[in-house]
Symmetry: C2
Subunit: 115 residues, 2 copies
C-alpha cells in the first residue's frame, strides 16, 4: 500500500485532514485527522482509523461506541493534502453527541442553531 | 456577526478547516481553510472567501475563474473547529484542474485513479 501513501502530503505533524461522508444519505459526517499509520490500518481493516490529536494516538472510530465507519471509497484531492472517506456509518450516528453528523450547528442569522 | 465567530475555534495559525459541499449534487467539492476575516467576508458577501495558506492572503473563490461558491448554508461541528459550507458551485466546477470536485483521485486497489 506504500505506493498509495506516497501521494499523500502530510503536514508538519504528519497528519492529513480527512472528511467522512455517508454513502447512503450523502451527509458530511465529520472532519478528523489521519496519520500514515491510520491510513494503512484503514486500508488493512476496511473500517476507519483516525489519529486523535488530543490523545496523541491511533483511534479506531466506533471501537467504544459501535459507530464504526466501513469504507466504501477513498478519494485524494488534487493537492494530495486532503482525503475524502465515503463510508457506511454504523448506527447512523457519527458524532459523540448522538447526532447523525458532527455538523449539526446551523447558521441562522447571527446565531448557530442545533439542527 | 461577532457572536457567530466566537464559537469558532481557530488553530494556532488563526485558521479553521472548511469543507464545501454542492447543495444540488451533494458532492464534496474541496477542503480549504478560513480565517476570521474570510468567514466575515463570506457572511457579508454571500459567496465563499477562503484563506490561501500559500499566498498568505484572503482568497475570493471564483474571482479569477468565475467558479464562485454561493453560500446556501453554513454548519459548525461539535468541537467548533471545522466548518461545512453548503454551496451553489458556479459552473459546476470547484477544482483548478477543471474537475467538478477536487476529490477526483479514487483509490482502486493499490493506486489512485482519476474518476
Amino acid at each position: 500500500m506504500s505506493d498509495l501513501i506516497d501521494f499523500v502530503k502530510f503536514n508538519e505533524e504528519g497528519l492529513v485532514a480527512s472528511v467522512a461522508q455517508d454513502y447512503r444519505t450523502r451527509k458530511v459526517l465529520m472532519l478528523a485527522w489521519m496519520s500514515r499509520e491510520s491510513i494503512l490500518k484503514t486500508l488493512e481493516i476496511g473500517s476507519v482509523f483516525y489519529y486523535s490529536r488530543s490523545r496523541k494516538s491511533l483511534w479506531h472510530k466506533g471501537e467504544t461506541s459501535g459507530q464504526y465507519q466501513i469504507v466504501k471509497d477513498i478519494f485524494l484531492d488534487c493537492d494530495g493534502d486532503s482525503i475524502l472517506l465515503i463510508v457506511d456509518q454504523k448506527k447512523g450516528i457519527a458524532c459523540h453527541t448522538g447526532k447523525p453528523s458532527c455538523f449539526f450547528r446551523r447558521r441562522e442569522g447571527v446565531v448557530w442553531n442545533e439542527s
